[in-house]
């Protein structure tokens, strides 16, 4: 008997027990779909983090106010204290004291309600200096960025992120239009190029295209208010190159400790973070997540495989007369073994194909429900299919050998 006949016989065996075959492959189906979605989630998340980090600018250190330890020993939250000042930013710009630092942008930021005509938008408003554009690695889609004169004159001008611009002005040209911020009318002079990393489901705060940039002086004097007009929320520092990043870190740390008169570095009232460290942390978190989800999916696959073996063993017992008859009619043990092996493999294959389909559907529709991107991975799909096949073969070997070893007279005697 050739392989074609063997496969035909095996496939017919599966087809004549449709419901049972389907329930058998359910375990494999779930496992395979799980693997595809888990891998997709992991890859999607790390892809999102990478693009978000890239959007923040390269070779950048962020110095955040706060983390001062109060007299009671409680460490303050990031940004909770107003310990960073414009003077700090100016000191960091010094070529002499900080040779590895290329550009410095002091940033004060707050969330404000913007209105233009009947449209309103709640957005992060950042008051900063002209160097912000290079430090953040951004470009302009149209118009100009804020310049030094704007900062000097406290000009009521603003540059909008792509998302904010389209929210306020839809398709109309925002240049020259007036936006009302906290009762202060400002004129739009430029629009930033979209970073392309904004996902529709992301919250507005993490969307790098949803913001308004104004001169830092305008923000301090006319919009944000507050008591300490010289304090800033953040200082973004760009090093000359990625090799100079650690040098820039040490210079900034040293300079600020000196300026703030702090001798013990553990008492620092500021925190310096690099985007690379954020990226590393996030990637390792995603990696752990992928391994965890993948592990659960793998366990499900093993359980599915045991399900296949269980049903194949039941099938061998149930079809003992059929096996006896086939042997009486001339089926050799090898032919019987192959028949049951083909059935198990076929079950694995069906489970694998259905699982890949279910997984791809999940990848297609889940992002809309959970708000996280999931990427499709052809490698994961092909790999999962191969695993499903292997499971069918692996867990089919024992039941098939049991069937092959049955003596024809014992099999025929069975009532």
């Amino acid at each position: 008997m050739n392989w074609l006949e063997t496969i035909r016989t095996g496939v017919n065996g599966v087809r004549s027990h449709r419901l049972r075959s389907f329930l058998t492959v359910l375990g494999i189906l779930i496992g395979i779909a799980g693997v595809i979605i888990a891998v997709g989630l992991g890859e999607g998340a790390s892809g999102q983090v990478t693009s978000e980090i890239n959007a923040l600018g390269s070779n950048v250190l962020t110095i955040t106010a706060g983390s001062s330890t109060s007299s009671t020993g409680v460490r303050g939250a990031l940004g909770s204290a107003s310990t960073l000042t414009l003077a700090d930013a100016n000191a960091l710009s010094s070529r002499v004291d900080a040779p590895d630092i290329k550009a410095v942008a002091a940033i004060t930021s707050d969330t404000e309600v913007l209105s233009a005509g009947s449209e309103t938008a709640t957005t992060s408003v950042q008051g900063t200096t002209p160097s912000w554009l290079t430090v953040r690695g951004r470009t302009l889609a149209e118009g100009r960025f804020i310049d030094n004169e704007d900062v000097q004159d406290h000009s009521a001008v603003a540059v909008l992120g792509a998302t904010t611009a389209s929210e306020l002005f839809s398709r109309a040209d925002p240049l020259g239009q007036t936006v009302d911020v906290n009762g202060v009318p400002v004129t739009v002079v430029g629009v930033l190029t979209s970073t392309g990393s904004a996902s529709t489901s992301s919250s507005s705060t993490s969307d790098p295209d949803d913001l308004m940039v104004i001169p830092i002086s305008t923000g301090a004097e006319r919009i944000f208010g507050g008591t300490t007009r010289n304090s800033v929320t953040q200082i973004a520092v760009q090093s000359r190159s990625s090799q100079d990043l650690s040098g820039a870190y040490q210079e900034a740390d040293h300079l600020l400790l000196q300026l703030h008169g702090i001798t013990n570095p553990t008492d620092a009232d500021f925190t310096i973070t690099s985007e690379q460290s954020l990226l590393a942390t996030n990637t390792s978190v995603d990696h752990t997540l992928t391994i965890l989800l993948g592990g659960i999916a793998a366990i499900s696959l093993i359980v599915g495989g045991i399900g296949v073996m269980n049903i194949m063993l039941v099938s061998v017992t149930e079809r003992i007369r059929e096996i006896g008859l086939r042997k009486a009619l001339g089926a050799t043990p090898r032919v019987i073994r192959r028949q049951f092996l083909v059935e198990a493999t076929f079950l694995g294959l069906i489970g694998g194909i259905l699982g890949v389909v279910a997984g791809l559907l999940g990848v297609l529709y889940l992002p809309g429900l959970i708000g996280d991107p999931i990427s499709t991975s052809p490698t994961a799909a092909v790999g999962a299919l191969a695993i499903a096949l292997a499971i069918g073969v692996l867990f089919g070997v024992y039941p098939a050998s049991r069937a092959a070893a049955l003596a024809p007279i014992d099999a025929l005697r069975n009532e």
Binding site: L325, R326, A328, A331, T332, I409, L412
Partner: protein, 245 residues
């Protein structure tokens, strides 16, 4: 004895079955049960032989040995000139496929397959091409009077018709021997007579048939009756036949 080349048709007078002092002992732990205690039997091409015996007589064991479903503990068994008493399971499967057509009490048809698919099964294992298999299966069904039922599944056929399908399956590979084990055991008297008539027709057509039964009426349809009792054969023993009637 020389072994004729494979596929050589036997002619009348040739020996199909030759059993020489065959024994079969079953061992279960320390207990040995001798089911056959030295059986010698010769059956020629074209004979119609009934083997009759009550349950426990060794009848089933003899049927298993004759059908190459089991091998003897000692003694020799030549089937169509081929010594099959020491063969491996794989070789026995090939011998069964080539030389023997089985008819069972339980019909043993596969429920998910149509009549012709059931009939073609021995040819599948013999490696006969698909088109030829189907042609021969349909022809065999025609010979048992089921030409109009080739696409019916066993569940759609009466008991008598199912047994006819089984007979067609036994015929389809043109075997040297048709071995029927209580073929009428599960049938009503009308269907039973019908199947026995079919067996008679096959005998008339020159087939070698061995019918195993416990029923003297059934056995009497054969040309030659061999009794079995306590693992030994008795032939032409009227008193024995009378005793089990």
């Amino acid at each position: 004895m020389t072994t004729p080349p494979m596929g050589t048709p036997l002619v009348g007078g040739d020996t199909v079955i030759e059993l020489e002092r065959v024994t079969k002992v079953y061992r279960t732990g320390s207990i040995s049960v001798a089911a056959l205690r030295g059986v010698s039997l010769t059956i020629s091409q074209g004979e119609y032989v009934a083997i009759i015996g009550p349950s426990g007589s060794g009848k089933s064991t003899l049927m298993h040995i004759l059908g190459c479903l089991d091998i003897p503990t000692s003694g020799r068994y030549h089937l169509a000139g081929e010594d099959v008493s020491r063969m491996s399971e794989t070789s026995l499967a090939e011998v069964r496929n080539r030389r023997i057509g089985f008819v069972f009490q339980q019909f043993n048809l596969l429920a998910s397959m149509t009549a012709w698919q059931n009939v073609e099964l021995p040819l599948v294992y013999a490696g006969v091409p698909r088109a030829e298999r189907r042609e021969r299966a349909v022809e065999a069904l025609g010979r048992v009077g089921l030409a109009g039922r080739i696409h019916h599944r066993p569940g759609e056929l009466s008991g008598g018709q199912q047994q006819r399908v089984a007979v067609a399956r036994a015929l389809v590979s043109e075997p040297d021997l048709i071995l029927a084990d209580e073929p009428t055991g599960n049938l009503d008297s009308v269907s039973a007579a019908d199947v026995l008539r079919l067996m008679g027709e096959l005998h008339a057509a020159g087939r070698t048939l061995v019918l195993i039964t416990h029923d003297v009426e059934v056995a009497s349809s054969a040309g030659r009756v061999v009794g079995i009792r306590d693992g030994l054969l008795t032939e032409n023993d009227e008193r024995y036949l009378e005793s089990i009637r």
